[in-house]
Symmetry: C2
Subunit: 300 residues, 2 copies
């Protein structure tokens, strides 16, 4: 079975493939890379693409870090180990066109020792305007990645995404969810380690084709200033989720992670409108009505 260095190598290669794919998709901007070292051990490659044809700002971050486990994390994980290893790829893309969705992906591997290790990650979509046919395409694509490894994955991970990407104080989901899994082991997944790993790589490799299809469908749609304002308002909700609830963000902020890499998920701009009400029957009202848990997007 693959060891942690092999996992990190594959993830690093996935970052390369995704960045090339996104540059080809955008057709305008290219990624700027920043290499960084972590004081306690390891480092990463933060890559940012900005002001492209499609992408206003996107980040594709790879890291492979190791060192002494922070006390707070030891306590949270209820383990005694001192050393940890973690590697992963994280992506957030904020497009210009309000009809192109925000997308987020993360695949990661965490290891304390041979007995305590797991995979986590997922892909989820945050359309500013929910379009059921796009939502259905997105979920069907994720289901087919999942089904190649276990028929149990999609239903379980879709439900987990619904629970996770939830803005409790707004009583709305961040977007239309997707798949999310955490602390996945053979015991939990009922498939071997190698399948869990390949599944995570499968998600990584599916990212560009899926997002390219969604961008292709929507990138040339015209939009009004009012629709742009709505996009900024939805981005405000994205900020709320990431700063108030997102576990990765909280973990990063509490453990003195590299702030610019952690907060690359925040949008270029966001707005807050006091007590905004969508006009009844509008596309905005439709979107709000669908931002809920438990929607079967496959059947839309």
């Amino acid at each position: 079975m693959m060891d942690k260095q092999q996992i990190a190598e594959r993830y690093r290669a996935i970052q390369d493939v995704i960045c090339s794919g996104l540059e080809a998709l955008d057709g305008g901007a290219t990624f700027a890379e920043e290499l960084w070292q972590r004081d306690g051990g390891g480092g990463g490659r933060t890559r940012i693409i900005q002001q492209g044809n499609v992408i206003e700002r996107g980040g594709v971050n790879f890291s492979a870090v190791h060192g002494v486990l922070p006390a707070a994390v030891k306590q949270a994980f209820k383990v005694d180990d001192e050393q940890f290893f973690a590697t992963g790829v994280s992506i957030v893309i904020h497009p210009y066109n309000p009809f192109v969705p925000i997308i987020h992906m993360n695949i990661r591997y965490f290891e304390l020792n041979d007995n305590v290790r797991w995979f986590g990650g997922g892909i989820d979509l945050t359309p500013h305007y929910i379009q059921p046919e796009d939502a259905s395409y997105f979920h069907r694509s994720l289901k087919s990645v999942c089904d190649a490894y276990s028929p149990a994955f999609y239903p379980a991970f879709k439900a987990h995404a619904d629970r996770y990407f939830y803005i409790k104080h707004r009583q709305e989901t961040r977007g239309i969810g997707g798949v999310f899994y955490d602390r996945l082991t053979p015991e939990k997944a009922a498939v071997p380690w190698s399948d869990i790993f390949e599944f995570s790589c499968g998600l990584g490799n599916a990212f560009v084709p899926i997002y390219s299809e969604l961008v292709g469908r929507n990138r040339h749609k015209t939009f009004t200033e009012q629709q742009k304002q709505w996009q900024y308002l939805r981005r405000g909700r994205y900020v709320e989720f990431n700063l108030v609830y997102d576990a990765g963000t909280k973990f990063g902020l509490e453990t003195n992670g590299r702030i610019e890499s952690i907060l690359m998920s925040l949008p270029p701009q966001a707005q807050w409108v006091y007590d905004f009400k969508a006009a009844p029957g509008s596309a905005e009202a439709f979107t709000l009505s669908m931002l809920r848990q438990g929607v079967d997007w496959l059947e839309q």
Copy 2:
């Protein structure tokens, strides 16, 4: 000594005085009021002023609520009481002109029973561009409110504001601080209840004169598009503080408070620029250099 209803009445009257004062100061917009009831008991008056001559958005919220203490709060406060009463006035003003500072004020009273009750609050200033003479005026004004009640107040509450309004993950303060006090009782303050109460009203009454002076000094300054971008970036930091650290915001979100009243503190828009670096020697770099704890603003 005044009872809780009398405290609420005075705070409500302070809201009125502040709103009139801010309308006169702005000279353009007026407050829109929303009355709300809390399911568990009590309610409030949320007042929002938008798109004025000076103020882009501001909220002045009064509430007086009572009812059953949420279990999480009981635990946090380590008390057995079931019933609570809380009243207060909260303000956040986001001006258009980047040379006019963001200001925040809160005065509040909390009571469980005759033995467990306290006052809290403060005023703090978040200039987009720190101007030492304004900062000094601001702190001297607060000191004179404090000194009327106790010479110990200003140094203690100024230090508390420095500790509280700190964005740990950025290693910078939110602004130039001000005064902040919490769970203030005669035991802690070494002055009687009535003086603590009058001190809180003194802060409330000082709000309009202080902010009027700062607005008057800066409202007609011209600014560039680049300075406006900097303002949006500083507003982004304000969002980060409020969503990640602010105790009142967290408390509100966790206890299902009225979301629009809680999040009125967020700016109309904010921006995030990846890895922004201020030009050496610029006004932006000067501001960043002063966003730290322990600055003696009286002497600037």
